[in-house]
Structures are given as C-alpha cells and as structure tokens.
C-alpha cells in the first residue's frame, strides 16, 4: 500500500465519474428519442482497486419490442385500409346527402312519378331527363373516384415499397457496423443498436416484420408468413409501380424474395393494408358500380311493342359506350359505370326529343316497333309507369362483386352496395381504433421498460457529482499528505 496507489485510485475514479456523467448526459439528451434505450455505464474494478469503464450497455426487452413491432404493423394495416375507404365516403357516406347512386336512382323514380301524372307536360319530361342525367353523371363520378383512389393507392403502395427498400438498405449498413463491432469486442455499440431498432420499427409500419437475432448480434428480418426480408443483405422486392391499374383486374403484383404476395396476405403493415384496399375493397366497389350501371341500362331498355315482336331489346333512356345493344345479362361488364350516359335520342339539346321518354323509341327512333304509345296521346303514361316498376323488378346480378345475391331491383342493389361500403368503412375504422390503442399501449410498455427517466438520470448525476467531489477531496488529501511527508524529510 502506498499513497501513490490511493492517488491512482482517486484519479481513476475521476475518469470513471466523467465517463459515467457522459453516459448520463447522453441519456438526458435522448430522453425525447422514442427509439433510444437507457444506457448504463458498466464499471469494473481494476488492478489495485482502480475503477474502469468497461462498456456501455443499452436496456433490452426483446419480448416487449416484438410485441410493439407486431401491433404497429397491425395498426398501420388497419389505418391504411381505413384511410383509403374514408376517401370513398362521398360515394355513399351519408344517407341524407343525395349523391349516392341509390339516392340518384330514387331521384329518377320520383321524376318518373311526377311525369306519369303530367305526361303531357314537357317540363315534367325534362325533369326525367335531368334526373337520368344526374344519375348517369353520379355513376360516372363514383366510378371515376373509385378508379382514382385505386390508382392513388397503387402509387402510395409503390412509394411505400421504395421506402421499405431504403430502410432495408439502411439496416444493412447499421447491422454491418454492429456485427463487425461485436466481433472486434467493441463495447460501445448501444447507439447503433438504438438506430437499428428505430429502423426496424419504421419497417414494422410498412410490413408485418418478425425479428430473429443471431449469436453475433446479427439481425435477420422475416415477414409474418415466413418470407425472408433481410439476412445480412436485403432480399429482392419486385413491384412494378408503373403498371396500370385496370378496372376489374387486380393491380400489379408484389414479389418479396421471389414469393408472390397475393391480396396482401401475410404481408401486413401499410403495404398489406394498401394491397387489400386496392385488390379487395376498391376492386369490388368498382364492380358493384358497374353492376348498378348494367342494372339501370337493363331496367330502362326498350322492347319491341309490335304484336309479332322480332326486334331485340335495346338500351333506351340510359345507354353506354357499346349501346344500343344491351350488355350481356347476369355478368359484370368492367368499366360500364364510367361510360353510362343518357341517350342522345331523348335529349333535345343533342338532337333528340323529350316525348320519346313518354312514347318510347329512344333506342331507335326510326323503328316504329319501339313505340309504346299507339295512339300518340299526350296523356299516355303507361311507359313511364313501366319504367318506375322496372327499377324495382328483380334482376340477376353477378355474384363476383362481393355482394350476396339478394332478390331485388337495381335500386335495392344500389342501396345494398351502399350498405356494404359503409360496413367496410365501419369495420376498418373500428379495427383501426382498436389497433391504435393496442399499438400505443405496446409501444408505451416497451418505451417505459427501456426508455430514459429524467428524474432517475438527474438523481444519478447528483450521486456522480458527490463521488467526483469525494475523489477530488481524496486527491487533495493525498496531496497534503505528500506535502507533510516532504516537509518532514526536508
């Protein structure tokens, strides 16, 4: 034992205190960083009782972290789906607002009823024309909105996938540093681990990612369905964002590590949610709108009225790009809702005549067979009443639209479709809310467990201050002891 040794110990304590203060200040600085784990200085006793900083360890809780990742993916998936569907509220959000196809059909029916009691009145027939025009335009707008949202969803999917690739590349860099550092015995990797955790958390917002740790602190990422996403280097993610999204067809496919992800199954996260929205909800809604359009064209079709009917049924008041022939019955015609329109033969502004709405002959004014009004009396309203009835008469709709086939006319089908859409909205928004709560809670639990508590750090700082003071005091004491010794020997 010598005074020099005591001096050395006190000196090492100063260094250690300074390093520990460094760790504390790092913690304080990162108190707001959601990915930062609390660091602890690892101090060991060295030769002759000196103290040394041997490393800095970050708090780790794998189980809570995995839970946070998983719930974040579920939340992102639900919120992506819910946000996409929210954009479609205009198609059938509020029953009071009159813009939904079902309500527009109601409008046409009301106009026909008014005209049926005043069929001599041009203004009443004009009312039918206006209502039919509003209906056709409403369907065009709904179809266009659906298609636009679908394209936007696809574009967003593309940018999310680009983001995922970038994140995986970042992870590759950080992971290499950590693995290399671990192999070399570097003990100060806590900040890099924080960074890597942050990147993984970002990825969990995009896909449902699972983390598997290897022995040398090497991180491997898999999707929930077992497809490898990252192993030492990112796996290939193939997606052609520039491919068109066509009505009635699934959008461009996604392949991760060569495995196709159909309908976003097992992908999860925002990317999975967007894929489901694109290829399920929006896809089906588009087809339902097409079926509504087809139902309307069939309902307003004109048939040969002559006693020996030979002419085929043709599209009347409402027609479409392929008119006047009727679309094939019982099967969806993709994109029909985008091309449905009022027949020009009924529109005086386009060379037609209003009285054809009452008398028939909209489909082919040249063929007398389509004339319903034999005596051409102005009060004839049989055709108008027939139109009202046909909007409610049962039709066969394609079951490939996601709607359970229920007997009923096109009006009923349209309101069932509105109910279906709102049910999707309701479910997705409910799941979104629940998952948001769960995700907040899981993240909070993990952050609570590994995060920084300022009060703890400040208390630690006070302890450090005291130990620093004590060490300096020790040094000055040893110093005065040396002084006394030297004085004595002078």
């Amino acid at each position: 034992m010598s005074l020099t040794l005591a001096y050395n110990i006190a000196r090492s304590a100063l260094t250690t205190s300074a390093s520990r203060a460094n760790v504390v200040s790092n913690n304080v600085a990162n108190a707001d960083n959601p990915d930062a784990a609390r660091k602890t200085a690892l101090v060991a006793t060295g030769v002759g009782g000196t103290s040394h900083l041997v490393g800095i360890a970050g708090e780790v809780d794998r189980a809570l972290f995995d839970r946070a990742l998983e719930s974040n993916a579920a939340k992102s998936q639900a919120s992506a789906l819910s946000q996409v569907l929210e954009q479609l509220a205009a198609v059938a959000g509020d029953p009071e607002a009159g813009g939904s196809p079902a309500q527009l059909i109601g409008g046409l029916k009301a106009a026909l009823q008014t005209a049926s009691s005043a069929s001599h009145d041009e203004a009443a027939l004009q009312g039918v024309l206006t209502a039919a025009d509003a209906l056709a335009r409403g369907l065009n707008a709904a179809s266009e909105l659906n298609q636009r949202v679908r394209s936007q969803t696809n574009a967003e999917l593309g940018s999310s996938i680009t983001e995922l690739r970038a994140l995986l590349e970042d992870i590759e860099d950080v992971n290499r540093v950590i693995v290399g550092g671990t192999a070399l015995g570097d003990t100060n990797l806590a900040d890099d681990v924080d960074r890597r955790n942050g990147l993984v958390r970002s990825i969990s917002g995009l896909v449902d990612v699972r983390v598997v740790m290897r022995g040398d602190n090497n991180m491997t990422l898999y999707l929930a369905n077992g497809v490898t996403l990252f192993e030492t280097s990112p796996r290939d993610i193939a997606f052609d964002a520039s491919a068109p999204v066509l009505p009635g067809q699934p959008g461009p496919g996604l392949r991760i590590d060569g495995v196709p992800a159909q309908l976003g199954v097992g992908v999860g996260g925002k990317i999975g949610g967007l894929m489901i929205a694109r290829d399920n909800e929006l896809f089906k809604l588009g087809r339902q709108l097409d079926e509504i359009a087809r139902g309307l064209i069939v309902s307003t079709a004109e048939s040969d009225q002559s006693s020996a009917a030979t002419l085929p049924d043709l599209a009347g008041l409402l027609t479409y790009g392929g008119g006047p022939a009727l679309p094939p019955s019982g099967v969806v015609v993709d994109g029909l809702a985008g091309s449905i329109r009022v027949n020009a033969n009924a529109d005086p502004a386009r060379g037609g005549a209003l009285n054809r709405i009452r008398d028939g002959g909209i489909s082919d004014p040249g063929a007398p067979g389509y004339n319903y009004n034999g005596t051409s009396g102005l009060a004839f309203n049989g055709r108008l009443i027939e139109l009202i009835d046909s909007l409610a008469s049962t039709q066969q709709f394609d079951p490939a639209t996601g709607l359970a086939s229920s007997p009923g006319g096109v009006q009923q089908y349209a309101s069932t479709s509105a109910g279906w859409l709102n049910e999707q909205r309701r479910t997705s928004s409910e799941v979104d809310e629940n998952q948001a709560v769960l995700a907040d809670r899981a993240l909070g639990a993990w952050q609570s467990r590994v995060g920084v508590n300022l009060d703890t750090e400040l208390a630690a700082l006070i302890a450090l201050e005291r130990s620093y003071q004590a060490s300096t005091r020790l040094i000055s004491s040893v110093n005065s002891m040396f002084d006394s010794l030297l004085d004595a020997t002078r």
Binding site: A102, I105, S116, S117, L378, E423
Partner: protein
C-alpha cells in the same frame, strides 16, 4: 407491487394520446349535439346504411306520389265540377222543353237555349287541369269537343245537316219539314241521327277524346285507371239531345210531330242527366281511392321517418350529457398534464 422503470417519454406520450382521444370524441359529440345526427352516419350504421337509404327512398317515393295524387285530385275535381254543370244544363233544358211543349210558347227559345248550351258544353268539356284537357282521355293535348254552332270548321254541323237531308230530302230549316210525321221523326232520331253519336261517326265529327284509360300510380304498389272522357255515354246523349233541338227542324215541325219530338228530347235529356250523374259517381269513387291511398301513405311516411330517425339520429339528451362529461374530463386532463409537466426534480435541486 413491484416498481418497474417508467420512461419520461412514455409518460408524456400516454398523456398526449389520451388527451388527443378525448379531444376527438369531444369534437364528434359537439357535432352530434349540434346536428342531432351521428357524426358520420355511414360509419356508425355500417351495413344498416342500406336500411336507412331504403327508408329514405320510400319517403321520397311517397312524397312524389303524394304530389302527383294532389294533381290527380285536382284533375278529378275539375272534372266533377264540369260534370255538375253539365247535369245542370240537362235539367235546365229538360224544364225548357217541357214548358214549351206544354205552353206551346215560341220554339225559337228552345233552339236558342240549346245553341247556348252547346257552347257552354264545349267550354265545360275543354276544362283543363295543369295544362291537360281533363276530358281528352289519353289525347289530352287538344280540346276534345268544339263549339257545335260556332266551330269555324263546322265539321259536326255539316254531318248532322247532311244526315237530315239524306233522310228527308231537304235541310232542317226547310219549311217542308212541316210535313214530317211523328213516326218519321222518331225513325230518324232513333236511326241515322242516333248513328251520328255512335262510333266511329262520333269520333270523326264530334269528339277528339281518346278512349284509352290513363294509369295512375296512386300508391307505391297500387295503380288505378282513370277512364272517363268526353266520349262517355251521358255526354253523348246530352250533346245528341241539344244538337237535335238545334238541327232537326224543330221550328218547322207541325204541332203533333213537335209534341212527340219534344217528349223524346225530354226523355233523352233526363236519361243523359242520370247517365252523367253515374259518371260523376264513378269519378267520385276514384277520388275516394286516391284520397284513401294518400292518407295511407302519409301514415306509412311517418313510419319510415321514424325508421330513419332511429337509425340516423342520436339521443340529444344523452349526447349532451356525454359532452359535459367529456368537457370535465378534458378539463381534468389539461390540469393534470400541466401539473405533471411542471413536476421536475430540477426544481428541487
């Protein structure tokens, strides 16, 4: 109880997200209280939205039918009042004919009366409602019956005088008419004259009304047919009697023939009156059906309105209570947040 670690960030985040959620429901509830409806009806109702839409469509359907029933009713009332006037004409003419026949007064009075009454009949049968000729049947675009005497085309009059001339060999105003026997006159009135008021002669020379009935959708699943028009039997009989008074040589007939002639006219005109009354009662039945359908629909409308209300509306009382609770909660949250944020060990060092 074990004390686990609690990070400052987690504590603050929890408070922040809680505050955000409360604010969100506060906002939604405020809107619900203000509008009385769910903040997002479609979102809250989900698949029940189609029920709300169906109910709304029923209401709009009923509204439009109620509107058109009002139109129909006014059309039927117009017809009723015109027919009442026609019955009155028939009765007046009956009195005129009977009194002239009994008193032997100037037959010219009867003829003048009949001429005026034919003019009135043309006005009555040209009654319009909402721009359509009520008695036109499906052919509502033009007056069904021209003024017999003053019609510039004189289509009907030419046909009648033509028939008279064909029967007797001279015109109705010819003094030779005095030689027509009572039997001849009766043969004419029951024969070629009567044929003028049967189809198709009636349609070509007198009436342009169409016989086809008009369908009326008086309730969502009820279609009634309105089939009255100027071709109705009563109207034909009345017109035929009045025309006979004008253009069957009435002023020239000898006393015996006139006596038989006048009594035939009197019989016909009273038969016409009762026939028109029957027509009125048919229209009355239709009116009643329309009115009943409207009443039924008004009741049904109330039911659908209640369905809509129960689906789309919120309980205002409950919503305002919730709003108060949320306000208190928000208040407390702010106070707690502010206090917790002020708490720091720094203040005590």
């Amino acid at each position: 109880m074990s004390i686990g670690p609690l990070s400052t960030l987690a504590m603050r985040e929890t408070m922040r997200t809680q505050l955000l959620r409360t604010q969100q429901s506060f906002d939604q509830t405020t809107r619900e209280v203000a509008s009385g409806r769910h903040h997002d009806v479609g979102l809250v109702l989900g698949s029940s939205t189609s029920r709300a839409i169906n109910a709304r469509q029923m209401v709009s359907d009923i509204d439009s039918i109620l509107d058109s029933n009002t139109l129909t009713n006014s059309r039927l009332s117009t017809a009723q009042s015109a027919l009442s006037a026609a019955v009155e004409i028939a009765n007046d003419f009956f009195e005129t004919v009977v009194s002239i026949r009994q008193s032997g007064a100037d037959r010219g009075l009867m003829v003048a009366d009949a001429r005026n009454m034919l003019g009135t009949m043309s006005t009555l049968l040209s009654a319009t409602s909402n721009g359509a000729y009520v008695f036109g049947g499906a052919n509502a675009g033009k007056p069904p019956f021209a003024d017999y005497v003053n019609d510039p085309a004189q289509t009907a009059r030419t046909a009648v005088t033509g028939a008279f001339t064909a029967e007797f060999g001279f015109g109705p105003d010819d003094p030779q008419a005095g030689q027509i026997t009572a039997a001849q006159m009766q043969g004419y009135l029951g024969g070629s004259y009567a044929a003028l008021f049967e189809d198709p002669a009636w349609g070509t020379s007198f009436s342009s009304a169409s016989d086809g009935g008009i369908e009326l959708r008086i309730a969502p699943h009820e279609v009634a047919t309105s089939s009255f028009n100027a071709n109705d039997k009563g109207i034909r009989m009345l017109v035929s009697t009045l025309v006979a008074a004008v253009d069957a040589g009435a002023s020239q007939l000898d006393a015996e023939t006139f006596d038989v002639f006048a009594s035939t006219l009197a019989q016909n005109v009273s038969a016409a009156a009762s026939e028109i009354t029957r027509m009125q009662s048919r229209i009355g039945l239709l009116q009643e059906r329309v009115t009943e359908a409207s009443e039924r629909m008004s009741l049904g409308r109330g039911m659908f309105e209640r369905t809509i209300g129960s689906l789309e509306n919120v309980d205002i009382g409950q919503a305002s209570v919730r709003l108060n609770e949320l306000a208190t909660q928000l208040d407390t949250s702010y106070a707690v947040t502010a206090r917790v944020q002020r708490l720091s060990i720094l203040n005590y060092l």
